[in-house]
Point group: C2
Chain length 322, copies 2
Amino acid sequence: MSLPREFALIAQHFRRLAGPGALDLSDDAALFDPPAGRQLVIAADAMVAGVHFLPDDPPETIGRKLLRVNLSDLAAMGAAPLGYLMTIALPREIPDAWLGRFVDGLAEDQARFGLSVLGGDTVSAPGPISLSLTILGAVAPGQALRRKGARPGDKIWVSGTIGDGTLGLAVLQGALPADGAGFLAGRYRLPEPRLLLGAALTGVALAAMDVSDGLVQDLGHLCRAGDCGAEIEAAAVPLSTATQAALAAKPDLLPRLLTGGDDYELLFAAPADADSLIFSCANAAGVPVACIGRFVAGPADVVVRDATGAPLALSRAGWSHF
Amino acid sequence: MSLPREFALIAQHFRRLAGPGALDLSDDAALFDPPAGRQLVIAADAMVAGVHFLPDDPPETIGRKLLRVNLSDLAAMGAAPLGYLMTIALPREIPDAWLGRFVDGLAEDQARFGLSVLGGDTVSAPGPISLSLTILGAVAPGQALRRKGARPGDKIWVSGTIGDGTLGLAVLQGALPADGAGFLAGRYRLPEPRLLLGAALTGVALAAMDVSDGLVQDLGHLCRAGDCGAEIEAAAVPLSTATQAALAAKPDLLPRLLTGGDDYELLFAAPADADSLIFSCANAAGVPVACIGRFVAGPADVVVRDATGAPLALSRAGWSHF
């Protein structure tokens, strides 16, 4: 009696992603030797078609986006990646070619980020494609960056550029004209986990997280964890050339840039006198950073000031699933 | 600006499941100190409503089933549980009461099996409820039970009883009359991971796995891993009283018992002269075991013989998603 297609799918597609400890994806579980003298850092994120990615996104980018979103969680803690497990719920009629391209993308990012798959599960589902990934990383004991630690007076820093992902989604949905180079859609589909920067910031930043659900909402998490407020200047928030152009054409996009999801940049607190140390970390990691404001004494609220110093009215702080 | 409902759901429901290292589920990842001198055993399984559980199953049992299915993977390797991460994709309109009962069930099983949640993700989904769980366990280095290791002449053993889960599903679907006590439905909804037995069998069993997709199909995996065939006697396969009664009323259920999913019993190989050792392991674990046949030289096929010794014709070997 021949084996069902499920096993052919694993053999044909997923086995090539398997690393040491994955036991060729043919045992009940993976065997993993944790690196001696390191703390493990573990996170899990899910993605659903139509919510976190578009059903017609190229299959190559879908698995990579999920992997990168999880890598971004490791970056936020200053951890280095070790491996991952992935579960995939797919319609029964999924074409082999789709799976091949999905796995091609993962293979490319495994090589880029230096990790491999440890295990997982592939199941059928009557609904949209639903993916889940658990990532394992490592840090020196006690050295993980945490959300807690910001104090009034500390500076607020952010890496890269903000707002590209949410504009990329708008472009892909036809709500915004495309930029010529497809930069914005690329930022939506393939975020860039700031692993080197996170690692460089351990022992330097006082608190950190990755921006995934909107800059303002996520900054609120650092405020609550640090029992303080935050004031940022809209004009100081770093924007890409493409996003600057979109904003110039449509100035009312500003709130969306500050509250839209899918940035996957690092947001962190540092002492007010640590600028040169922060810039040297950023330089070593090859990622630009910008100071966008300060933490302040008071309730855990985030105030965004416009060029005149007046608070900007925002109808929401960020993305919510429910 | 108040936090979206997503965070209220985490605070109200999931935070009470969080154990050491979970950082109150309020950081980007968990921090986990692996036990010194142990190998980690890691597995991930997904469950989708309508595929792995019924949409109207009691919410208390749904998370527990997923946890137990993963614990069963640890049992199959002889590992002890340490913790887990879970991602949940839910319809936006999910009632708070449903989530409360879902988490109540998990809390009960956390206490029963001695582990707690390390992290996860809760997202909205336009389709059926889709869950994924990654479990972490530990074994002494090199002591994990593996699928590879069965040799011609070794005996084939199975724990507990086979076929209850698939009949329980038939009962819940109205295709089979219910047994008075609801035993069969209970076996479908709440499998019993054989953790103590798996641990007792390390160093004793030569190969092992858990039966999740049908006894015959899963035995085929042990055959392929061991490069041998298997012959089992249908009459030797252990059946519960409820399943015996169902079979007596409807003898053509036999193939379904041998090939249906949701058993979550341990299937293992042991030397032909190790019966007393195996029975003492089973006794220590408080789980009955039965010898159902032998591995044989030859291709990796599974032959099931009826009471006359004739091979039973089976139209399929087990469950397939695709």
